[in-house]
Amino acid sequence: MKVYDMPDERGHFGPFGGVFVAETLVEALEELRVMYEKYRHDPEFLAEFAYDLKHFVGRPSPIYHAKRLSEKVGGAQIYLKREDLNHTGAHKINNTIGQALLAKRMGKPRVIAETGAGQHGVATATIAARLGLECVVYMGAEDVKRQAPNVFRMKLLGATVVPVESGSKTLKDALNEAMRDWVTNISNTFYIIGTVAGPHPYPMMVRDFQAVIGIEAKEQMQEMIGRQPDAVVACVGGGSNAMGIFYPYIDVEGVRLIGVEAGGHGLHTGQHAAPLTANSPIGVLHGNRTYLMQDEDGNIIETHSISAGLDYPGVGPEHAWLKDIKRAEYVAITDDEAMAAFHNLCRTEGIIPAMETSHALAHAEKMAKTMSPDQVVLVNLSGRGDKDINTVARLANITL
């Protein structure tokens, strides 16, 4: 059997990935690459990581059979991997703990992060507080407005939140600004990237730290139904929750992997954040080569999604590769479809999902309808929707 083994030594997933940064960042990335190689198989490091995942995050997260939703949809059985039950309410914490433990071993007293919806910022601020690290979070000024509760959470946890006023004032600009901070403060600062993008080793490292989701899911599905699901579905912005659940399944035959991008107002309108589904051209941004939403001059175009966490013009390079080798499929779900799935899960299962996750749920419903009741779709319920209640209320013209 051919075993999947990616990326190569310099972080390439076929033509994607790599290290596309200014010379000023090269040594810092090299230091990180060497340190991560040293610790990724180190039993003591892995034991500390596992301990925190169990006792601080509350892992393993359960898998739940959404029976009423499955019945209502009619078709395949829908199962949910409950990352929403993690400490801080999303999968993001898995990765921030891994990177913060690495920062500690590298003797860096200061961590920085970029954030879109604020989940990664909260997860970084959380572990920074627990480990006594100084924490600065860059967030697009637009997102600061959209996600006020998470901004306040970060501040409660002792982090400094810096609103980024440049460019489109969203996630990509926050990432630019975090990179600028890092290059200026390299000697004492560790940059905790929140998704499977950025220069090598980030896409690989974030995937490895998130792979706990898929590793657990494989065991749990075996226990619950005696086999693996027919399909695994997850939402994709940068793609960390999807990579986390997909990765351990890549070599498992018969399991379809489906990434769900943000279709925004619909692909035909151009207002979306679905570079893979829309067949965007390949380009270079944020240190790696991948599919990128851009204009004919190669400038990055503004994306649209109802969910700040998916509002990103690129996608992690490993997803680009999985698309090209046809191991994973990518589809888009519109804002409206995601909202409908959001309400559906609230009412039928008593679970308020994150708006990002609602995209995966919407596609799972579509798929399940075309499948038989003895088939199984596993959805990565990547986060809970408490952070989104203001947005949902606003859409319904309700003032809280």
């Binding site: 200014a22 000023t24 090269v26 460019g167 600028r180 270079v284 190669g298």
Partner: protein
């Protein structure tokens, strides 16, 4: 001999150092760029670094970011930048032009097409900020085949083993980034720069330009004493930003003359 090499050897013969101003193409308005380029030359530039605007200039500080944003308002893209160089070359065949920018606009155009158009327009060198040598060998060969130079950055954190790798691919000159940070950041530490430039000279005979922190005539003089070229970016862009249509040219001239005098006083 490339235009860049000729300039450096002519200056060396005269015992002078090169002044390389940076402007972003299309800032403050595309109509003014070619005029500004001629102004830079007439007020003392030995070479021009022309920035290609990009939506996500990760290695640049706020000053050059704003210049990119001003240019992008006018839909200033790589194709138009090359047209400007072509127009500039109609009346100036002597001053080397180095394009400085990011990889994505080049990849969007396609590297072969870019190299052909750049050559035709009269570009002399290309500095692609986010193309470290490991990721751009093929592109470098294309540039070399077309007779254009590949300019590379060296940073305060670049180890000697890595400098070795870079100088193997670099042609024209090397650009030493004088501080840890983005363009236009804090003041440079001249003692440290002196030490590093001396170390780099042990590994290469290429001319060395220093930039990223030259804020005034005094720093320009200090840098000129150490390096073969002084690159002035954010300070130049600030002068443009602080001008209106009436005093743009005279403000740029004033700054250029200050810098030229300082550099020539070494």
């Amino acid at each position: 001999m490339s235009r860049i090499q000729s300039v450096f050897s002519a200056l060396k013969a005269q015992g002078k150092k090169a002044l390389i101003p940076y402007i972003t193409a299309g800032d403050p308005h595309p109509d003014q760029t070619v005029t500004l380029m001629h102004t830079l030359v007439s007020s003392g530039a030995d070479m021009i670094e022309l920035g290609v605007p990009f939506s996500d200039p990760m290695a640049d500080g706020p000053v050059i970011q704003r210049a990119s944003e001003r240019a992008l308002v006018h839909k200033m893209g790589l194709r138009k930048v090359l047209e400007m160089v072509k127009t500039f070359r109609e009346t100036n065949q002597a001053t080397p032009i180095v394009l400085m920018g990011y990889a994505n606009p080049i990849e969007a155009m396609g590297s072969a097409k870019f190299v052909a158009l750049a050559k035709e327009a009269g570009v002399d060198g290309v500095l692609t900020v986010d193309y470290p040598p490991e990721e751009c060998e093929a592109f470098n060969r294309e540039l070399a085949d077309a007779g254009m130079d590949s300019i590379f950055l060296l940073s305060p954190t670049t180890e000697p083993s890595r400098t070795e790798l870079i100088v193997k691919q670099a042609t024209g000159f090397l650009y030493y980034v004088s501080l840890k940070g983005v363009t236009g950041a804090a003041n440079l530490d001249i003692t440290e720069v002196k030490k590093r430039v001396a170390e780099i000279r042990k590994q290469t005979t290429l001319p060395i330009g220093v930039g990223f922190g030259v804020k005034d005539a005094a720093t320009a003089r200090e840098v000129a004493a150490i390096a073969d070229a002084v690159v002035v970016g954010s300070r130049m862009v600030l002068a443009i930003e602080g001008s209106d249509a009436n005093n743009l040219i005279s403000n740029v001239q004033t700054l250029m003359k200050e810098l030229r005098t300082a550099i020539d006083s070494v």
